[in-house]
Amino acid sequence: MTSSPESDRAAAHQAAAPMAALSRRRFLKTALLGSAGLAVLAGGTFAVLRRSPVDGMAVPDTIRHLSHGEYHLFRRATEVLLPVAGTPLTPLSEVPVLAHIDAMMGLLPAHLRKDVSAGLALFDNAAVVSGWHGRRFVDLDDNAAVAYFDRWSRGHVIQRTLNAVIKQFVYVSYWRDPKTWPPVEFDGPVSDRWGIAYLGNAPLPDESALPQTVENRT
């Protein structure tokens, strides 16, 4: 994968674009942060349920921008959203999806990064009460996690936004990697491979019908 910081930045902006709308619209932002607080409170109320085995799991040293919680949220989201095992699609072990997400996240502007962080916390914790799962998103089994995504994709604006942001981070990070293209038979760049001749600039059109030039007039 030939990924540059600039390329990562572009992908990050696109993936986080829906969140940018929330950030700019105060009433939604208030609702988002309020909901996040509520979810955390609710999670606190069910503190025993809210604990997760992932809390004790390590984060690779190479991860620089994702928090512990965010890393495990995206790790779980990647497993749930991209169940490629047993399919012809490129295995997750060959595509550094989480590294791409980490790089993209590190390139978000600070204010947007903060809101994305709050949104991710909401998405994870709200599973305790939303749908009465009684546990965080990271602890849902595959079917319940997919159902959680599906429900949020049909929910209110904040839910649809967070559903879109998480999916776009995961899917863009996977599908922009050329290693993922052969199984779906997308050809990628072809001009060099096909030996397509370079034509250069187009020839000047017939200018005999030009409007009279300054030089000709004077």
Partner: protein, 533 residues
């Protein structure tokens, strides 16, 4: 007779790096020219060529970088990073409508799909007879269209340029009784790579990079990249130049402040950037219409899965159009299927097995983009000072526009079902698909308007226009019929901002034609506008 030397390939462009290396250039410098053209896309490049070949001294300034064709990788992600405005994340104020736009030397002509469409004569008759714009009467404007078409190999797609996605659209249209035709494109010997949106590395696309800009340079025009005009200088109702900032495209660090003294200023940055520039420049705006009347030609993409393998992403990106509804309902439909990364951005995806099944069927997919004429109620506004303000693009669909787009999605879906689709994916922020035409209406009913149509239909826009509309009444329009801004002599607009009303036609050809007319009008008024006549 003058010898005209057209570069074999590439362009002599002065970039921020050149200026940073030049010891004779300090942090602030001034240039003089007869004509400064702001923007190097469809309109700006045409004006530059027309006036340069008429013997005028022309300087083209482009805010974006110079990205020669040899640097194109056919990797859309790379291209979006390098030469799309805001790295392809230019959005409306609610961030649910995407406005992709080129931000490089050549502008959007570099990243466009080569679609060239002429509005029907009825549109020009209305603009001429009802709006009083006699310069747009069919008998006046159509010969200019023809001239522009001849300049850049505009032709109807031939059989080999119509790919499998397009053939599915043809099949559907034939069964539905809808009129269709091959798309007109400005391309020579298309290599059928399908990578139009990532730039054409073999220079077959007739973008400004390989046509009007090198031709203008052959006639002596100069081109500067990385140079963002911050405002037009106006004194006593006369434009006399521009102020600009040169920035390193990588670091965004300022390299220099620049002032360009010019006798004629032509704004050609497109329907979003030009009104912002004129607002920053605080031009008199007696009409109050500057930045208003934004028409976006919103479109939604319908995807369909067929039993057979299509590889619909191969071949010319846009093959055919459905022209059944242009004059009656203002719909345009173009066949096209995006590459995987773009699909992830453009459409909402299911979760888990649903997404895997969708992508496993990628080679079975076909795509049809449904464009609808909108009401032109949007607005582009610059907020803050001219140096550190920000733009706001306000456009969300009205309920009527929303229903129109939804009906467009319905028509596109029916075309695909008529062609034998096994499933149609609907353009919604929810994950919605219909397994048969009998389920279609019920699924479409699930897409509701909600709050201002936000995050409901998945809408994009390639074709903003109308934000500096031309007209014969200075209290109703921003520019006169010659494209000159009312009350500012010597300041012209030559881009899609000029269009007087929302239009159901891809605007590229119209913009070039209007720009040619504006340039020829400037040339005809040489005695009045230029010191040397």
């Amino acid at each position: 007779m003058r010898a005209i030397n057209i570069p074999r390939d590439g362009l002599p462009v002065t970039t921020a790096r050149d200026m940073a290396r030049d010891d004779s250039i300090s942090g602030r410098f001034t240039l003089k020219t007869e004509v400064v053209v702001i923007g190097s896309g469809a309109g700006g490049s045409m004006v530059a060529w027309e006036l340069a070949r008429a013997g005028r001294q022309v300087l083209v300034v482009e805010a974006g970088p110079y990205h020669p064709s040899s640097a194109f990788t056919e990797h859309l992600g790379d291209t979006m990073t390098e030469i799309y405005r805001e790295q392809a994340a230019q959005l409306n104020s609610t961030a649910d409508v995407l406005f992709p736009e080129g931000a490089c030397v050549g502008g959007s002509t570099v990243i466009g799909a080569c679609v060239m469409q002429q509005p029907p004569d009825s549109v020009f008759r209305r603009w001429s007879e009802e709006l009083g714009l006699k310069n747009l009467a069919p008998q006046v404007i159509k010969p200019l269209f023809d001239e522009v078409g001849r300049e850049q190999y505009v032709h109807l797609n031939e059989a080999h340029e119509i790919n499998t996605t397009a053939h599915k659209v043809i099949q559907g249209c034939e069964r539905m009784g809808f009129s269709w035709k091959p798309v007109s494109r400005n391309v020579r010997q298309c290599a059928l790579t399908g990578h139009c949106l990532a730039g054409c590395p073999s220079d077959r696309k007739m973008s400004a990079l390989v046509t009007h800009l090198p031709w203008a340079v052959g006639h002596g025009a100069r081109v500067m990249a990385d140079t963002e005009v911050t405002r037009v200088l106006i004194r006593n109702g006369r434009a006399y130049g521009v102020e600009a900032v040169v920035r390193d495209p990588r670091t965004r660090q300022k390299v220099a402040d620049l002032r360009i003294d010019a006798e004629v200023v032509v704004a050609a940055g497109g329907a979003i950037q030009t009104p912002l520039l004129l607002q920053r420049s605080e031009i008199p705006d007696a009409s109050g219409q500057l930045g208003k009347n934004l028409a976006v030609q919103p479109f939604v993409q319908v995807l369909a899965r067929f039993r057979e393998e299509l590889h619909g992403f191969r071949g010319a990106l846009v093959g055919v159009e459905i022209d059944e509804f242009i004059e009656t309902d203002g719909y345009m439909f173009f066949s096209a299927l995006a590459e995987p990364e773009q699909l992830m951005i453009q459409g909402n995806q299911g979760a888990g097995p649903d997404h895997i099944n969708f992508m496993k069927s990628y080679k079975h997919l076909a795509g049809l983009n449904a464009f609808a004429i909108d009401e032109g109620r949007g607005e582009v506004k610059w907020k803050g000072s001219h140096t550190d303000g920000r733009k706001v693009i306000s456009w969300n669909p009205s309920r009527a526009e929303f229903e129109k787009l939804k009906h467009g999605a319905s028509l596109a879906s029916r075309v695909f079902f008529a062609a034998g689709a096994e499933e149609v994916y609907l353009p919604s922020f929810q994950r919605l698909s219909a397994p048969s035409v009998f389920d279609l209406d019920a699924r479409l009913d699930e897409i509701t308007y909600g709050v201002r149509g936000m995050y409901s239909l998945r809408i994009n826009s390639f074709s903003s226009h109308g934000t500096c509309r031309m007209g014969v009444d200075r209290y109703h329009a921003v520019t006169n019929a010659r494209g000159e801004v009312y009350d500012v002599k010597g300041l012209f607009v030559a881009d899609a901002s000029l269009l007087p009303e929302p239009m159901a036609s891809a605007p590229h050809w119209t913009v070039q034609t209007l720009a040619k007319q504006v340039a020829q009008g400037i040339h005809a008024r040489g005695q009045e506008l230029f010191l040397k006549g």
